[in-house]
Symmetry: C2
Subunit: 221 residues, 2 copies
DNA sequence: GCAAAAGTGTTGGAGATACACCCATGA
DNA sequence: TCATGGGTGTATCTCCAACACTTTTGC
């Protein structure tokens, strides 16, 4: 292979994953202690280097799968971060990916094995390097898209109650929503369908469960 | 400097700039013929490599300034592109930036010197590698943001008529807008202010000119 | 006087907001 | 029986879309 660019400089490429989950009425994210230098021991996103034979998305998927045991995770690129000194010792360009998972599907064994913690958004500690910026940007992206793309369902089990769905919305947009108005909107939208299954776990009366019907075109909620 | 990552692979980092301008009622972009291999002679975005001592944004600014002679160009990151074979001969990760400029400020000499052409969006030829994807993604981003961020003014001179502003909107969203409704919205919005200058160039009657008042908070148009 | 662009209001409908009480059941 | 979460309807308002004619003036 001829190297046409050899006069230019090279960099390491990494992916960093912002993994959001929804649990106990709160939006949380996975954080761990950095295992390698520089920054060993600091709170950080989980990431990995991109190998010579994989695309950026492949690398992010690989990292996410190794971390969670899950395949086909919902994932979006947040952006590229390349400040000269973002890694104090080498030139590393990092591409941040935001993933949404259902906490219940997550293998707790793996979580412990990797030393990861679910941290509420209000309690995020200072993070290694520019990881806090990545988190901030990912949140902005989520807020912008939650009403126009079917992303909220990635945070929920296949069957969910309207109250759960509303809680996800409230956690992402960060403010309370009127219950009657939300339910009206949800039912009028043609993106969820009622099932005849009643959830009796969270209430004595029981709540009707819904599922996403897969409609992506002109999604609106 | 200790290299902690030496077991991982390295890549070249480039930035590619999608430069939009508005001229003669149409949204156009700057394209050139690729000067180097691979892909020499193909239509492509203008880009450059990121040096060891500059941030991604700095590199994009440098490329844009060298290209246009302008400083402080409005610019947003579109995303990172890193398919293994996007460059057929070396591993190159490219970060795409979208820039908006006022064509009238552009130095025609520089344009010719770099062999660039203004091409209407409807007439975009096939582009080198994944550059067409970058353009597509940049357009989606523009459409999403034009109503919520003061980006349209970057495509216009400081003083502009409501008709010009409307033309910019129509070009970006790609459909016609009702004149009365648009003007009503524009005047009710608190982001533009009337001047007492009358533009007599484009109409016999003359049109009142407006300017952006700098309001960014809760921008809405 | 006519072509070309600027400028101007009203109406109806859809969707958003605000708001308070009853229901079913397990403990 | 009571505490808990599920479930419901109406009035108002705001925003958006549809729609056609008059004004000014250079030529």
């Amino acid at each position: 292979m001829i190297d046409h660019y050899k006069e230019y400089s090279l960099a390491y490429i990494s992916v960093d994953c912002i993994v959001f989950g929804f649990d106990n009425g709160k939006l949380k994210m996975l954080l761990g202690r950095r295992q390698i230098n520089p920054g060993r021991g600091e709170w950080a996103l989980y990431g990995g280097f991109v190998s010579a034979t994989e695309n950026l998305e492949n690398a992010a998927e690989r990292v996410l799968t190794s971390l969670t045991g899950l395949k086909n995770i919902f994932m979006r690129q947040v952006g590229a971060y390349g400040a000269v000194n973002r890694d104090p010792e080498s030139r590393v360009i990092s591409v941040a990916y935001c993933a949404l998972i259902n906490v219940k599907d997550y293998d707790e064994e793996l979580r412990k094995q990797y030393g990861l913690e679910w941290v509420s958004l209000e309690e995020i500690p200072p993070l290694f390097s520019d990881h806090s910026n990545m988190v901030e940007d990912a949140l902005v992206m989520l807020r912008r898209r939650i009403s126009n793309e079917p992303i909220c369902f990635s945070l929920l089990p296949e069957l969910f109650t309207l109250t759960q769905l509303q809680n996800v919305f409230e956690a992402i947009v960060g403010k309370e929503i009127d219950k009657r108005n939300f339910r009206k909107r949800a039912k009028q939208s043609n993106v969820i369908e009622e099932t005849n299954i009643i959830d009796k776990l969270t209430s004595k009366r029981g709540a009707v469960m819904y599922r996403y019907n897969g409609n992506e075109t002109d999604f609106r909620l």
